[in-house]
Subunit: 324 residues, 2 copies
């Protein structure tokens, strides 16, 4: 959430000269997305996001992200396109880093979604899954079920119980449960895998863009629904389940993209898995980010509370009742 | 150069509802300016910068900055205006912080100024000084000559010589020189006091905005010229004096705002003072910013090199020759 590589307008103008994109008239470093550097670029013709890929994104994955977004855009989904230059090139280099010029989309990321906004997001997620049914690209989920125990181990060694006494043991037993019960034969496709409200642009109740696909990978579609549910349907601290938001999100999704029976049967496990994934990465970031750093550390326990919620059968009965 | 306070669109929309400013359609945290949080705000009507004042800006100084920018704007200078709401209020509160909605100006901050760009900046500085001749507001320069020895003392205690052996002693003797020779009767007015290329927006060779007035204060006009000269007329690392840029900047300035004899006579001292001010604050930031922090630490020695340059009589003869 910062600008890691400083760019001058001379460098950006040189880059823009490869495109039919007009002349540079504004350039602002923006605090957005995963660990990339992002610039708001305005030209005499249009507006763009210029993304420089820092260490967290593997350049070898960029062709997957490019073709994923092209596929979604061609299918009518609201996602930002990578812009190609006069020679058809979408991947550039600037300041020694891989870089892409990306379409700028209007809209804002809500922090307190309304039921109407959750409903629209459920529809957009369903439309995305429908559009991806015939997408051929694949990318392994490096933060999937197989990654959780090793990540838990690293966190435990670095001091998980400093976050909350007993947390290491709780996470171990959740790994046990999930490894025993993880569904292996669910319908898969490319999924977003990180569809938090941050990553949905809206104007009023309408979705204007799904963004930040840098965790996109091949995995169970139901896991994408589970991630989205866990991200949208609670107060930020995870204390309060937002029942109306959940109902709207699930209704929007299932009316757009029918949920098969195996996915439905596995939903509890998928939801618990989604919580563990974010609990673990947040614990890792918490332990490894100095409190003094300018990056906002996100409370890991907000996802422990969600995990507790989904582990309760009565709560799951409520959620399953909303899936119709 | 980061966003310290996270804002959601709900908060920004609530703020905008006090203005006739249209509805929010984009919101991006931007990495810009001193230690404030800044957002790019686009509405159905216009575009703005929303600034939240964090610890570094004293809220008691905000009325000075407001009236300074209003005065400059009314005089035809290209500066961003503070926007007033329906009740004439320009100072708001958001997320517990003082906040102002500010006009968005097109243009980019060049990193390698051309002579034409330096000339335009000299003219813009001269026009600003002309416009400020009848500005009544005052604000003490908290980073003026009286502040340098105490700041040097704090840096020495914290380890100046860790930056470069002998630096503490060099700075002490420069304080001695400047305190003995600092001119006290020069024409004063409100000045920008920080007019680095960062703080000048340009389109091509034309200045579209002078920005970031948060160091503005009452001091010798010639000191403002000295700061600007030291900021514009060298390679970033201070190694190379850019003679053509210097000539263009000085010519643009003196043709717009004639330099009085006492200011001209004091220019060498003013230039050395400007270098010491930035050498000291950069040393302070260098010592007090962990290398791991996301803030880019600026090389203090880049201003020691400028100080060396201006301390050489042959170099000063060149500069004085360019002032005609």
């Amino acid at each position: 959430m910062a600008v890691y590589t400083q760019l001058g307008p001379e460098q950006v103008s040189a880059l823009l000269s490869r495109y039919d994109a007009g002349d540079l008239i504004a350039l602002k470093g923006i605090a957005e997305g995963v660990e990339n550097s992002n610039y708001f670029v305005e030209t005499t013709k249009s507006r763009f996001i210029l993304t420089l890929y820092e260490n967290r994104v593997d350049p070898a994955d960029l062709p997957f992200f490019y073709s994923l977004l092209k596929h979604l855009h061609d299918a009518g989904c609201k996602v930002p396109r990578f812009i190609t230059d006069r020679n058809g090139k979408w991947l550039q280099e600037i300041a020694g880093r891989p870089a892409c010029l990306i379409e700028f989309l209007q809209g804002v990321s809500v922090t307190q979604p309304t039921t109407a906004q959750a409903g629209s997001t459920g529809v957009a997620l369903g439309e995305m899954h429908a559009a991806l049914a015939d997408f051929a690209g694949t990318r392994a989920n490096s933060l999937g079920v197989a990654a959780w125990r090793p990540l838990a181990q690293r966190c435990t060694e670095a001091g998980l119980d400093g976050i909350q006494p007993g947390l290491g043991k709780r996470i171990q037993s959740e790994c046990d449960f999930l490894e025993r019960n993880w569904p292996v034969d669910l319908p898969q496709s490319a999924i977003h895998a990180d569809l938090f409200p941050d990553n949905v642009l809206m104007l009023g109740d309408h979705v204007t863009g799904l963004i930040d696909f840098y965790f996109a990978c091949t995995d169970a579609r139901g896991y994408d629904l589970a991630v989205t549910h866990s991200a949208w349907c609670f107060s930020t601290d995870g204390q309060t389940f937002r029942q109306g938001v959940s109902h709207a999100l699930l209704t929007g999704y299932v009316q757009t993209f029918p949920v098969d029976v195996p996915t439905r049967d596995a939903l509890k496990v998928l939801l618990r898995g989604a919580c563990l994934r974010f609990l673990l990465t947040r614990c890792y970031d918490w332990i490894n980010t100095p409190a003094s750093a300018l990056v906002t550390r996100k409370d890991p326990l907000a996802f422990l509370r969600r995990l507790d919620f989904y582990s309760d059968d009565a709560n799951m009965a409520t959620i399953m009742g909303q899936m119709t």
